[in-house]
Amino acid sequence: MLAAYWHCFLGVGGREWRRFVQQRTRFFSALVRPLLWLVVFAAGFRAVLGISIMEPYGTYIVYEVYITPGLCCMILLFNGMQGSLSMVYDREMGSMKVLLMSPLSRPFLLLCKVLAISLVSLVQVYAFLAIAWGYGIRPPLVGLATAMPALLLVAMMLGSLGLVLANAVRQLENFAGVMNFVIFPLFFLSSALYPLWKMQEAGPWLYWLCANNPFTHGVELVRFALYGRLALEPLLWCLGLTVLFASVAVFTFNLQRGQGLARPG
């Protein structure tokens, strides 16, 4: 029976990988977006935002170094949402029915889907880190290894959140609007582009929003892991939120049974 689950995971993962390979523009846009931030925006912001010595960095750092973990998480965020968009697309195009006719458990099928999307995201993050390395952003080599589980967890958290949204969105056309209300607040109200203490200067409510943003926990987990350090509090937040989002995704997935999947007649 375990072998059946393994074969299923390989099948779902293989399909996500083939989709990714076939959609080369998706790969390039996933790379170009953070690279633009790194090369163009960061150059401008560097002059405005001085970064003092802070954890986990042992010395003064340039702005590009600061935003690299946030940009890694940006790739995970966009990919997680792209994955959920593909769920809505599958539902509209009918191929979701093929997944639902599997005799294996539906929570497992969803987990496979999220894990497969997350692994594809990891490939893109490391492609970005390789280019950033060439640009001069060089975290310790061991950090590149320790960041992997952190990146995977954050990808799972954001992928599960994407599934919750996919279950909530009835039609493909509504998806773009929902994404604007999710991706941009998550990204900009986080520690991805500016440290939290900078937000404290801007105002207490803005600081509160940033400090409690799930994306902030993800960015901080990756930031510390990229320098071989464990950030316990963000780790616990990410674990808890992943379980929460995944549970809500499974629950709402079961709830929507029959809505849009089978037509009356």
Partner: protein, 258 residues
């Protein structure tokens, strides 16, 4: 995988007092019938009769509200995963991934049923050969015509060797020649492999006189039995006439059916 052995005379499909509503609208009003093992069975009904609702319930894509469905002796309410293992379905709406190749679509389905790579490849080859699609295995589904896509969906539905094959208005959208070819192909499957097939349609020219027929109208079963016997019973010369007579008697508003 199937640990229980069913008696050879036990029905393959049992629909027992199944009701279903969409809000105030009643789609199925206490539908009951059974299909014997083996052979070609047809579920007939005009548009809106409740055919797709019944298929939705049988496949578990719709949540059951009342009544029971058993496939190969297994209750859908109590053991839905085992039921899904026994069921091969070709949906009315195409469900193939157009950007994957013919073989990739089949292997994806096989993996969702937990089949190992080697076994899946063997079965892919076997089903593609049966459907005459082996030469197209590497092509993207987007390149296939409607008839071949339907054949591919049948090949896919048979990969996990189901006990019951359900085709929900599978011939819709095909030209007359492809429709006939598909129909003959499914009948050949019944003859050669002893399969039980449930073919739903509103196109009566797809039905042969010796087919077992369940006629659904306004959410209720209005007749069942061999097509030629139904004609005799209703004193009709053709199945079309029998269908018209039986279905015009059932013009009940959806709100008053259940």
């Amino acid at each position: 995988m199937n640990t229980s052995i069913q008696a050879p005379h036990a029905p393959m499909l049992e629909i027992d007092e199944v009701e279903h509503r969409y809000g105030a609208r009643c789609a199925l009003a206490g539908v009951s019938f059974a299909l014997a093992r083996g052979g070609f069975h047809a579920l007939l009904g005009p548009n809106g009769a409740g055919k797709s609702t019944l298929i939705g319930l049988m496949t578990g894509l719709l949540r059951g509200q009342a009544g029971e469905i058993r496939i190969d002796g297994h209750s859908l309410n109590r053991d839905p995963r085992r039921v899904r293992r026994q069921l091969g379905v070709v949906f009315q709406q195409p469900t193939l991934d157009l950007d994957l190749s013919v073989r990739q679509n089949l292997l994806y389905h096989a993996s969702l049923h937990g089949l190992g790579r080697r076994l899946a490849r063997q079965r892919c080859d076997r089903e593609l050969a049966r459907q005459g699609l082996e030469a197209r295995a590497g092509e993207r589904v987007r390149q296939l015509n409607g008839g071949h896509r339907r054949r591919l969906e049948i090949a896919r539905a048979l990969l996990h060797e189901p006990a019951l094959l359900v085709l929900d208005e599978a011939s819709v959208g095909l030209d007359a020649a492809s429709r006939q070819a598909l129909n003959e192909h499914v009948r050949a499957l019944c003859r050669e492999r002893g399969m039980t097939v449930l073919w739903t349609t509103h196109l009566l020219d797809e039905i042969a006189p010796d087919d077992n027929v369940v006629m659904l109208c306004a959410g209720s079963v209005v007749a069942s039995g061999r097509a030629d016997a139904l004609c005799r019973r209703t004193e009709s010369r053709t199945l079309q006439d029998a269908f018209r007579r039986l279905t015009t008697l059932q013009d009940i508003p959806a709100e008053e059916r259940c």
